[in-house]
Symmetry: C2
Subunit: 569 residues, 2 copies
């Protein structure tokens, strides 16, 4: 028993992956995991050795990922997958089905969908055959799919996949060229604002479930905005450009936006000032009522329709209990042209770039903005140090009733959806975990199969086949188990392996004490003096049931399956 | 109650998604789902309407996916995801962690890794910056990652992702240009054959869990094969080409392979005949013993090492109980050059192309082989009708101890792994389900929230907000729920919606009968005369618990979450 006593203090506390105080334990973070530096990858040059693999390794190879892309490994991917799982579970809870489209589309399918940003599309080389490009988002492939499947007139679908943009990367801020999007859309003809309200509810459920911290859903309506521009006297052909200018109010003060309107976009300064009276307003239902009472707006059809939608939406949001998260914000305009109704964007305190002003009306603060040193003309340059780049909104979307119809030529399919910037959400949560006392592990092993070796020299027995047989029994019973790939490992080596993996339990063969039909189950990291410190003998035939019971009694198997805890209690 | 009685017969049986006889029910397959034809996508030409989205839709767009790629939707993706989940669950059970690499790699990272097949690599266009290509497999990215992370000296990793090959597609046979691979590899220095044996065990666990039907793991050892070639007198520079010829024995008879060796590859016919004496042998441990006793082989170092490995492996496979699935097959050579130890390939009865001979020794049957009409010179042509193309092996792999070391220049990292052809596995299972009586659904909704409308005309009340509040309560209790997006839907429409979605339960608001604090839970599709046919009244405050209990009592929540049943009982 010496081995057990000696090394059990190495083993992890059960609380290890829940709440762990470094000072209270000798446990150190496994060296394996510490190498999974997220957002940093070494550039190594190796001269490969000559080999019998003919062409391989004769040249020097740059060992890196393509700029703006990254590997996901270790704790990073464990945390990320947990986030993905929580999000998709909520989508499914609301009846969504999954859709998976190819990573590339015919170039003509993407052409003309993204305006100026089309230059950011990754093209595939022309190698004969069809000309294609990597997808830029998940919305156009969804529209293409709906158009190709004309009998589908309504669907709730989600799609979690990577998209590609040849934008200037800012890697440490989570602005990548290859990044994940997670889209949820409801297509179909329904009574007004019901799907819209459910999307707000889903958003709140997801962000609360992720414990993302303080956030606000900025909400506006395209028709109210368009109506305001009409009432203020914006010429029809200037409505979209002026709308784009307004959308910058989250980053720039009103004075700068006004300048863009009047100087760059040739808007009458009086019209700009009228716009300013409205677009700086934000609030809740009170703002809605204020607008309804404003006589100058009452006669505009767009505004009337928009306000009636918003009123209904607020009613439904009250039922769903999500109104406190909503800010009706007239400065929200959203870049994409295709929105036709409600639009929204979820921001956190981390969303705004550090250099941005605290509020659009505080014009003076922009003077302190220091010039970025990043060369913006080099599209490959990393803008991580560029202080005009923030994390951005963590989710955004809106209603687009015309897009699918235009795409396909078949009847209109009204759609409303939201896209979660899951890489940004990941960055926020990862940072929180780093700053917390949580220690995370990347594997899901429940129990480590060990044996106390016997004999010495040539007669030494590590009970390899017995360990294998017990692992087989556990696997076939649905339990995650490992054993050391050594014929005769020392006890210490086996405890160490369990410790590095953060494994909560061990099953130990003590042939001399117990024979081969009985083993000991030991919860690792129990404090000295605990009645089960030395483990508990169990018949091999009862092993699976006993392990399951123990996994359950320490917080439920669920807790061990969902190893990575995103929330701290 | 009239509405309920009238339409409950429309609703599905609880057994609907488990075992369903079309003749025993009026339930028809939802029209939505029937449009998700897998492997077939219509080519539609639409002339888009003019719109205010400037560039959009001014041209005619071909509505299709890129050749050799496909969308995954509806029941297809539900079945596929279930397969993915089962496979990755088993990987995790054995301690594997996930790794996710970018879809593209620097071209130089892929260059020279795939020999002749390098021509199949998809390149990205040169748009300035780095030159890159879509990944061809998951092994080279894994090796690149290991090389970039020098402190990682051992890892069990899995990776499930799409890979890209500009090969001639055979869409209906599951040979695509974009397809999923699912790789599991064990890297690290361990005692011999232990990781190798665990990979065989994992393979058997996965395929049995998927109920894939009859299959065989063909097993061989590169060193035995190389040693045989040496003993037979194959010149050193001809060993790899002769090995490739031997590998064709699963598709071609020995006579053709012999011809390739002697006529194309200039091998002495006597040497070829000696090879023929060995490579047509297959068996189990008996073959191992036969080879050990064959004097001509005993002195060859490669063979000695290979046989000693195989002997140990068979010992371990016996402990894991997987020996019955193994065929020690001396004709298995595997195409890739980098294997250094055991190699294996899993075949099913569907693996061989229909035109292939039943066994390599039956040379005459090749004469009946009809010429394919497919133009093999057109790389874009679909070879689905080409009868020389089979589904191929459903999993394959081996030991590659030199690859990572050569790649990175750092010390050797011995590896052994397997790659599952999950698209092929999907094709086999999908076909089985089509031929079975199973009816599948794509969404996971547990309960449909309904209300019996009251009043008429302007005073008609559909209890929308009450339905919303109940849905909110269910969602927040973790239950998958939907309601109809109509302010005042008829009872019939609500039952119909639940039926189309295959939803097992309804919660119904009957204000006149029960008031708003009590609802009825109704299991849909109960036979007439069942005591709970009309549902059971439940206080709204007890609703979540009651629904959970009912989901459990009808086979466990698990059953409803894992809607798609891959096995039939």
């Amino acid at each position: 028993m010496h081995g057990v006593r000696l090394f059990s203090s190495f083993a992890r506390q059960r609380l290890f992956f829940i709440n762990f105080r470094p000072s209270a334990s000798r446990f150190t973070r496994p060296s394996l995991l510490s190498t999974f530096q997220h957002h940093q990858q070494p550039q190594l040059w190796y001269s490969s050795k000559s080999s019998n693999l003919d062409d391989m390794g004769k040249q020097q190879i740059t060992l890196k990922t393509v700029k703006g892309s990254r590997d996901w490994a270790g704790v990073d991917i464990a945390v990320r997958d947990k986030i993905f799982e929580k999000i998709t579970t909520t989508f499914k809870k609301h009846g969504a089905v999954s859709l998976d489209t190819p990573v590339f589309e015919l170039k003509e399918v993407l052409a003309g969908k993204y305006g100026e940003d089309s230059k950011l599309i990754y093209d595939l080389a022309d190698q004969g055959g069809e000309i294609s490009s990597l997808r830029y988002d998940l919305t156009v492939p969804f529209a293409r799919w709906l158009a190709m499947n004309p009998t589908v007139t309504s669907i709730k679908r989600y799609h979690l996949a990577k998209v590609y943009r040849r934008d200037q990367p800012a890697v440490s801020k989570g602005r990548m060229r290859e990044f994940y999007q997670c889209d949820f859309d409801i297509a179909g003809t329904y009574d007004p604002m019901l799907p819209d309200a459910e999307i707000m509810k889903i958003t709140v459920e997801i962000l609360d479930d992720l414990n993302i911290g303080e956030y606000t859903i900025k909400l506006n309506h395209r028709q109210i905005l368009d109506g305001l521009f009409e009432v203020c006297g914006v010429p029809k052909d200037k409505i979209r450009p002026i709308s784009s200018a307004v959308d910058k109010l989250d980053k720039s003060p009103w004075e700068e936006v006004r300048k863009e309107m009047t100087e760059q976009k040739g808007l009458d300064p009086e019209v700009a000032d009228k716009i300013g009276e409205f677009v700086l307003k934000k609030g809740g239902r009170d703002l809605l009522e204020e607008l309804e009472k404003t006589e100058s707006l009452a006669s505009n059809d767009n505004i009337k329709k928009g306000l009636s939608d918003m009123k209904l939406l607020f009613d439904y949001l009250d039922v769903f209990g999500v109104t406190p998260k909503i800010s009706f914000d007239l400065s929200l305009a959203r870049g994409l042209d295709y929105y036709t109704g409600v639009i929204y964007e979820v921001v956190t305190e981390l969303s705004a770039p550090p250099a941005a002003t605290q509020g659009p009306v505080v014009a003076s603060s922009s003077k302190g903005k220091k010039k970025s040193k990043v060369n913006k003309d080099d599209p490959d340059a990393d803008r991580s140090d560029d202080d005009t780049v923030g994390v951005g909104s963590i989710a955004a979307g809106g209603r687009y009733d015309e897009l699918v119809g235009m795409f396909s030529g078949k009847g209109k399919i009204p759609c409303v959806g939201i896209s979660f910037g899951v890489d940004r959400i990941y960055s926020i949560i990862r940072k929180r975990l780093e700053n917390s006392s949580a220690v995370l592990r990347s594997s899901d092993v429940d129990i480590y199969v060990m044996a106390m070796p016997e004999g010495s020299g040539e007669n030494k027995n590590g009970f390899l086949k017995e360990r294998m047989a017990i692992a087989k029994r556990l696997w076939e019973g649905g339990i995650n188990a490992e054993f050391l790939y050594k014929t005769c490992p020392k006890m210490q080596a086996q405890f160490k392996a369990a410790e590095v993996g953060g494994v909560p339990f061990a099953v130990i063969i003590f042939n001399e004490q117990l024979g081969l039909d009985t083993v000991r189950i030991k919860e690792l990291g129990l404090p000295d003096g605990h009645p089960e410190k030395e483990g508990v003998p169990v018949a091999v035939t009862d092993l699976v049931d006993e392990v399951k019971k123990r996994l359950k009694s320490t917080g439920g198997i669920e807790q061990y399956i969902a190893r990575v805890k995103l929330q701290e209690s």
